[in-house]
């Protein structure tokens, strides 16, 4: 079974540009989560999508946005890039939302570098 995939592996942008990161969840998973892992820091929750809707959002400015497509894949868009946006962006997927446990399966990440 294929795991969570992310593209691109690396992305280099300059300040003010826009970045688009993509994530394909494990087949059968409807929830997709995005995290930012800056150097030396833990994972900071960005966004959670399930069944095409945004379910929860972390403490990030509105220039961080995303969407989930009907096939449950997801995009993370970062507008007006700033130097401090340089980080590893991780995507995770899980089976479904609800009060029951949802183990998250992580992808390899996209390394975004803003120059």
């Amino acid at each position: 079974e294929a795991g969570v995939t992310q593209s691109p592996t690396h992305l280099i942008k300059t300040r003010g540009q826009q970045a688009t990161l993509r994530c394909s969840p494990i087949s059968g998973h409807t929830s997709v989560y995005w995290y930012q892992q800056a150097l030396g820091l833990g994972l900071q929750f960005l966004l959670w999508y399930d069944e095409g809707e945004e379910r929860n959002r972390g403490n990030f400015p509105p220039r961080f946005s995303g969407r989930q497509f009907p096939n449950y894949s997801s995009e993370l868009n970062v507008n007006a890039l700033e130097l401090e946006d340089s980080a590893l962006y991780l995507c995770a997927s899980s089976v479904h939302t609800g009060s029951s446990y949802n183990e998250q399966f992580f992808g390899p990440g996209t390394r975004l570098t803003v120059l």
Partner: protein, 114 residues
């Protein structure tokens, strides 16, 4: 809002030493608790999890963790570490609600010397 605190940022041990990594969380309700591990060059992967029941949970590769509700803690343990346990370890908390998001600690880097 919930938070997770991992007390040790970097732990260095010799092979066969015992390991305990601390994790404390703050949240007033019922939670699900996780430890994830990231080996060098690999994805984050689940080490073990706790939902309910026996507070002592066992995971892969000989790891275990104990949930102590009164202390809001979920410490990770292994009686005898190996060089291959060198990795970064993350504790995570997820409220047991429909819209609960997972909060991760800052991680603990474990280096095991052969």
């Amino acid at each position: 809002a919930q938070s997770v605190s991992q007390h040790n940022h970097h732990v260095i041990l010799s092979e066969a030493a015992s390991l305990e990594l601390g994790c404390n969380y703050s949240y007033g309700g019922t939670v699900n608790l996780f430890w994830y591990v990231q080996y060098p060059g690999q994805h984050l992967q689940l080490l073990l999890k706790y939902f309910s029941g026996d507070p002592l949970v066992k995971g892969i590769k000989g790891f275990e963790a104990e949930f102590i509700k009164s202390k809001f803690s979920f410490n990770l343990r292994k009686p005898s570490v190996q060089w291959s346990d060198t990795a970064e370890y993350f504790c995570a908390v997820k409220p047991n609600t429909n819209a609960g998001k997972s909060t991760f600690g800052d991680g603990t880097t474990l280096t095991v010397k052969p």
